[in-house]
């Protein structure tokens, strides 16, 4: 099989999705709106691979794991590289169809703007009032540090499952984090007593923490206090704010930012696999 017939399989959320454009609410005069080439396309070109990009805006890690697992099991012999951009902890995907992130519905001041609107993803409104539902859900999630650590455990399990699948099938892989995994700044609106340092301590104390392959996860553990970074937050390519992002209120990478993400994956690929 010639190299060019082999595939780059990519998955993630809006950081990676083909044809992504900024939402109307986040547009600002003088700034880009998209669409622009995304990092999987740029990376595939650099590596002379066929791009397979199943990233989807709004999706969480359960989508990323389920979709990637299915594709990898079917196609591992054709895949040169699996490149995954992991997403936020609280995003959920129900019945493989509906997605929702209660972390974004916690700020009452957004209610008067209703900035997402009923057509944003549709799904939040089937919970009834999304602010009420989100707060009720997040009250359980954030009732104490232990409960929040359970979210991190789930996140690590999802990463580990995909990592292990790739290892078992001898498929090359590189992982990175898109948006920061946690949304602590939103969670403390629900429980002001939440202790971030207790959460971090709980996170690194989990046995799952040591199962993640640091060599293949760029920036792991992706939290600045632990010396980690995401592909944007804490990364010199995107510092200071809002360098190489869409605009000051939208943290997605802009066209140049997408090239920088591709460069990060490319550099890692060369370091690990050549």
């Amino acid at each position: 099989m010639s190299k060019s017939s082999k595939e780059l399989f990519a998955c993630g959320c809006s950081f990676s999705a083909k044809n992504w454009v900024i939402t109307d609410q986040n547009k600002m005069d003088g700034y880009e709106t998209g669409p622009h080439p995304m990092w999987p396309e740029i990376l595939a070109n650099k590596l002379n691979l066929k791009e397979v990009n199943q990233a989807c805006p709004g999706m969480g890690n359960d989508y990323i794991l389920g979709t990637s697992m299915k594709y990898i099991l079917d196609n591992h012999e054709n895949i040169e590289l699996v490149a995954i951009q992991w997403s936020q902890l609280t995003r959920m995907w129900i019945y493989d169809m509906n997605f929702f992130n209660p972390s974004v519905w916690l700020n009452e001041k957004d209610r008067k703007y209703d900035r997402w609107g009923p057509d944003f993803v549709g799904f939040p409104y089937i919970f009834g009032d999304p602010w009420t539902a989100s707060k009720a859900c997040m009250r359980d999630v954030t009732k104490d540090s232990y409960s929040v650590v359970q979210l991190f455990k789930k996140y690590m399990r999802e990463i580990y499952t995909l990592q292990k699948l790739c290892d078992e099938l001898n498929v090359k892989y590189i992982f990175g984090q898109g948006f920061p995994a946690h949304e602590f700044y939103n969670w403390i609106k629900v429980n002001p007593d939440l202790d971030w340092y207790a959460i971090i301590k709980g996170f690194i104390a989990q046995p799952e923490f040591d199962t993640i392959n640091k060599e293949k996860f760029m920036g792991w553990p992706c939290i600045p206090e632990l010396g980690g970074y995401t592909m944007t937050t804490g990364h010199p390519d995107f510092d200071p704010w809002p360098k190489n992002r869409m605009n000051p209120i939208d943290s997605h990478p802009n066209a140049k930012g997408q090239h920088l993400l591709a460069d990060q994956f490319h550099k890692k690929y060369l370091e690990l696999y050549t």
Partner: protein, 271 residues
């Protein structure tokens, strides 16, 4: 590693959980062996039973994927007891069964804040959509598709690692009887019959990608020529095999029936 050192991996919900206790009959002695242990006895091998009360198919299958990836060399047989298609588990912690949140006469009450949060969602799913005269088929397809995609994924994973597999729903993806009862509770007419529900199942994307060789009862619905082990179509006698009139979980005899069904299927598929 010899066959004797290997084990059966069993995953599922309360129909599989070795520590199952009846909520309806708290004094009922549930210490009898469950089907995974009975099956292991018959196959003269060991068993690891990851069954857990209340979980959904995502939880069930994810626990199987994790365990298989770490331990496939030690596994003789994977048996998956799937559950209702409408259940979902939020963050691996909050176990949500929409049917329990829309029906008043069953024992699972709203114990947690998150259950209040999902009550509108439950009504939306179970009543506004699955009983909608115009939309029920589309929504049923969503649940069927989710159900079937898990079957296909576990089949691919087991095939990749050369593992024997048996998948069987111990609760169906969508139970016509349950939907009929909800419709009755809400004073509406169910907009389909059991044949139409089965037909929708057969139209699901992925239906023909399932390998029937490892799926007990496929394609499950009697109208399609299939059966469920824990319904009359699979020889389950509700009068003698369930815990009690208000608790449909299998009793000792019920678990023996399930273990026998799986054992017989194993014999045909693998011996």
């Amino acid at each position: 590693m010899t066959k004797k050192d290997k084990y059966i991996l069993a995953v599922g919900d309360s129909f599989t959980d070795r520590d199952f206790k009846s909520v309806e009959y708290p004094d009922y002695d549930c210490s009898y062996k469950k089907w995974p242990e009975l099956l292991a006895n018959r196959l003269q091998t060991n068993v690891i039973n990851l069954g857990r009360c209340g979980v959904d198919n995502d939880y069930i299958l994810n626990s199987a994927y994790d365990h298989i990836l770490d331990n496939h060399e030690k596994i003789e047989l994977v048996v998956v007891g799937m559950t209702e298609g409408w259940r979902f588990t939020v963050y691996n912690s909050f176990l949500i069964n929409p049917i329990a949140l829309v029906k008043e006469n069953i024992s699972i009450r709203k114990w947690h804040d998150y259950e209040n949060a999902v009550e509108p969602l439950s009504k939306f799913i179970m009543v506004d959509r699955l009983l909608s005269p115009t939309d029920w088929a589309r929504y049923a397809q969503t649940m069927f598709s989710h159900f079937i995609s898990h079957i296909i994924r576990i089949q691919k994973l087991c095939k990749t690692f050369g593992l024997k597999l048996i998948v069987t729903p111990l609760l169906g993806p969508i139970s016509y009887g349950a939907m009929w009862n909800i419709a009755k509770d809400y004073g509406i007419t169910i907009p389909y019959d059991s044949r139409q529900l089965a037909q929708e199942f057969s139209k699901t994307v992925g239906f023909y990608d399932v390998d029937p060789a490892t799926v007990l009862g496929w394609p499950f619905y009697p109208h399609l020529g299939g059966h469920f082990l824990t319904e009359g179509s699979g020889g389950f006698d509700f009068a003698t095999m369930k815990v009690g009139p208000n608790d449909g979980h299998p009793n000792k005899l019920g678990h023996e029936h399930i273990a026998n069904g799986i054992y017989n299927f194993y014999g045909k598929a693998y011996l």
